[in-house]
């Protein structure tokens, strides 16, 4: 008993650890083990060792899809970090300062998060459709009719449209977290800033930002993970293959396509002989990609904190 008394953290850890291990980690391990088999999901499994991995990395077709999807996912990540996160921070700061109308902003910015993704895509269709989209109509009204385009379908813009939908829908999440983080900053450091005569923006940069640094880095980490696992918007917009030339294909969609895609179309389709096996393999490779980059980001975060503290 005194072993535990000396280590009270064990009691705090135990319930969460148990449930998490049982319902999250155990399924991951069990599912990952399928990547060592050849299996179509229905019949018998055959053990093939690392063959699936070799197949994935030596198939030029698969590799080109893989790198394209990876590039698209990274585009979403970079755009989010460069644009969305700063916007979230500034919005949170404005609300934190209780600028006029802050309650309205808070609800308005967050509300798209509640709407289910097919409806978000439908809303964007209503706005950006070539024929019935509101945006094109507005362009015509203001005399810019020659810029009318089928916005949703242009291959080069595809991934940016996906990013727009992801950002619009998820803007509130980061903002709420930053808001909570700002609320935890002690009033004294803020008051010290006022006393020194620091202006609105200086207060943000010199006082608030350093103190929510870890939250920012955590949000960057979460954005990375989300960009690698986001699936719905690309699927609805581009179908299982990710649009023309796979222009909206992202990592999670590629996984889905290999594991479940071929037999999931309106005309039937044949199940691939190794759907589950290869699908698990892609999921594991995806997992490792996410895992190692995340570990790297975390190492950066904590190393900085130890130095800065």
């Amino acid at each position: 008993m005194s072993y535990i008394k000396k280590r009270p953290f064990l009691l705090f850890l135990l319930p969460g650890f148990l449930i998490y291990t049982l319902f999250v980690v155990y399924p991951i391990v069990a599912a990952a083990s399928i990547s060592f088999f050849r299996w179509n999901g229905i019949g018998p499994k055959t053990f093939v060792g690392l063959d699936n991995y070799i197949e994935l990395f030596t198939s030029s077709e698969l590799m080109s899809q893989f790198s394209n999807a990876l590039l698209n996912s990274l585009k979403i990540f970079v755009l989010t970090v460069l644009i969305v996160i700063p916007v979230q921070i500034v919005s949170a700061y404005l609300i934190h300062n209780e600028v006029k109308g802050y309650k309205f902003f808070r609800a308005a910015v967050f509300s798209p998060q509640f709407i289910s993704t097919p409806v978000v895509v439908f809303i964007f269709t209503l706005l950006l459709d070539a024929n019935v989209g509101l945006f094109n109509k507005v362009l015509e009204w203001v005399g810019l009719g020659e810029y009318v385009r089928p916005w949703l379908g242009i291959p080069e813009y595809g991934i940016y449209i996906v990013w727009l939908m992801v950002s619009w829908s998820g803007m509130g999440v980061g903002m709420i977290f930053f808001l909570g983080a700002m609320k935890m900053i002690s009033k004294e450091s803020l008051e010290a800033g006022y006393l020194e005569g620091a202006g609105f923006w200086r207060r943000l940069f010199s006082i608030i930002l350093p103190q929510i640094k870890v939250t920012i880095l955590n949000m960057v980490l979460i954005s990375y993970i989300v960009s690698m696992t986001i699936f719905d918007f690309s699927f609805i917009l581009g179908g299982v293959s990710g649009g023309i030339d796979h222009n909206v294909d992202v990592m999670a969609l590629m996984f889905y396509r290999i594991a479940f895609g071929e037999s999931n179309n309106p005309l039937g389709g044949n199940i691939s002989e190794n759907a589950m096996g290869l699908g698990s393999t892609v999921a594991c490779v995806l997992f490792l990609l996410i895992f190692f980059i995340s570990m790297f980001q975390i190492w950066l975060t904590y190393r900085r904190r130890e130095e800065g503290a």
Binding site: N40, G41, I42, G43, P44, T125, D129, A130, N131, V132, R149, P150, L152, G153, I154, P155, L237, G238, G239, V240, S241, G243, I244, D245, F260, E262, S263, N264, N265, P266, L267, G268, G269, N270, I271, S272, E273
Partner: protein, 430 residues
């Protein structure tokens, strides 16, 4: 804040309590294998767990309620516990966990899934439950749809779906156009519309399947024999295949689809048609309710071939094709239910609700629209299924068609002859 937290705690405890209680509900919600094991098949009460198609729940809810009631009226000792719980994910989980309901819907020979399930022994053959009288109502294609290795594994479909042309009657009337009876007339109609500045046809160039409907409709008129050859593993006639691909490309090249069709997906194409921007659209019988809901004056016709033969394409409707799980504790009763779905009574209920295209003569069509759908001369082969039939693990002509050949033809990157060469190379990969 403490009071609020206690409220949450009370709610959570109540939730877990109710959750615990709900599993003691008894037979109806019992999870594994479904039915109540204590009742025998000697006429005592039996409950069957049946899964329906979640993706189509919106159109199937009402008719199936009636179908289930009709069945239960005929079989007072059987209770049907019907849930729209099935999509690919939940079915996969049930298959792998050996947790299938008594009966569930399958896609027949449209895909290889039913074959795999039969081979793995997860569904049972149903031949002993269907008498010859039951089967005689159906054409051969319908019965073939249910066969794996010569045995029936699902109920026989009563309807089929195919792709054709919906047209805006008002636009046609405005330019004095009639329903084309041959391929040449169709081309003339489209040219006339073009010359008046009207976009003839709406096609979604962006989606794999949306850009595919034109070729599904054109194919029987050009290569029906070759598609049959593909089913039998015989070689195709390159000249005919090239002509088909060239025609497909020509439609796009001539501007029949409008300015920005490459960027439109299926939904955008449908919106373009319903808002009156195009005169026609290539779409299927399954989309009919979208068009009947508008206030437009809409007509339908099947695509004619060069010889004026109007072709529908094969494509059985899965709303009534159900299989019986091997783990069912009441296979006889489940098979009775599945058999009922093939009956005239059940089919008529579905027909009255949704207006499907029947393949059995004794079903009364819901309205004239169904008669319009039934106004075709022959049922041709379905090019996607034909290509799939020729596929192996290494060679996937159907994927090649969708993701490679069709987009390249549409964007004028290859000619019909080059497309045929690509196809031959893929077929040779066996």
């Amino acid at each position: 804040m403490l009071k609020w937290k206690s409220l949450m705690a009370v709610l959570a405890i109540a939730a877990l309590f109710i959750a615990g209680c709900s599993q003691n509900d008894g037979g109806a919600s019992s999870p594994s294998g479904g039915s109540d094991p204590s009742a025998g098949s000697s006429g005592e009460k039996v409950t069957l767990k049946v899964w329906g198609d979640l993706a189509n729940q919106a159109v199937l809810e009402e008719p199936f309620k009636k179908i289930n009631e009709a069945f239960m009226a005929k079989h007072p000792n059987i209770k049907i516990d019907y849930d729209f719980a099935q999509n690919d994910d939940s079915l996969n989980v049930a298959l792998q966990a050996n947790s299938l309901p008594d009966a569930f819907f399958v896609q027949g020979n449209k895909s290889t899934k039913m074959k795999e399930m039969a081979k793995a022994g997860q569904i049972i053959p149903l031949d002993e439950y269907f008498t010859d009288a039951d089967k005689s109502r159906f054409p051969e294609e319908a019965i073939n749809y249910t066969l794996v290795d010569g045995k029936m594994y699902c109920s026989i479909p009563s309807f089929f779906d195919y792709a054709m042309v919906y047209y805006n009657k008002d636009i046609f009337a405005k330019y004095g156009l009639n329903v084309p009876k041959t391929l040449d007339e169709f081309v003339k109609t489209a040219d006339t519309l073009l010359s008046h500045g009207v976009t003839p046809i709406a096609v979604g160039g962006n989606g794999d399947f949306d850009r595919y409907w034109p070729i599904q409709e054109l194919a029987p008129g050009f290569i029906n024999e070759d598609m049959i050859a593909l089913y039998e593993g015989k070689p195709i006639n390159e000249a005919r295949m090239t002509e088909l691909f060239d025609t497909y490309r020509a439609f796009a090249e001539k501007g029949y689809y409008g300015k920005d069709f490459i960027a439109m997906d299926g939904k955008a194409a449908q919106l373009a048609f319903t808002s009156g921007k195009t005169a026609m659209i290539f779409d299927g019988t399954w989309s009919n309710s979208i068009y009947t809901g508008t206030s437009l004056n809409i007509g339908r016709f099947a695509m004619p071939g060069k010889d004026g033969v109007r072709y529908a394409q094969e494509g059985m409707n899965n709303f009534t094709t159900y299989a019986v799980a091997a783990t069912s504790k009441h296979p006889k009763e489940a098979a009775e239910y599945v058999k009922f779905l093939s009956s005239l009574e059940a089919a008529q209920i579905l027909e009255d609700a949704n207006g499907h295209v029947p393949i059995v003569k004794d079903i009364k069509p819901k309205d004239e629209i169904v008669s319009e759908f039934s106004a075709f001369d022959k049922i041709g082969k379905n090019i996607y299924h034909a290509f799939s039939a020729a596929a192996t693990e290494k060679s996937k002509p159907q994927d090649l068609l969708l993701t490679d050949i069709l987009p390249k033809l549409m964007t004028k990157k290859i000619t019909g002859a080059e497309a045929t060469q690509l196809l031959q190379q893929e077929l040779a990969k066996k």
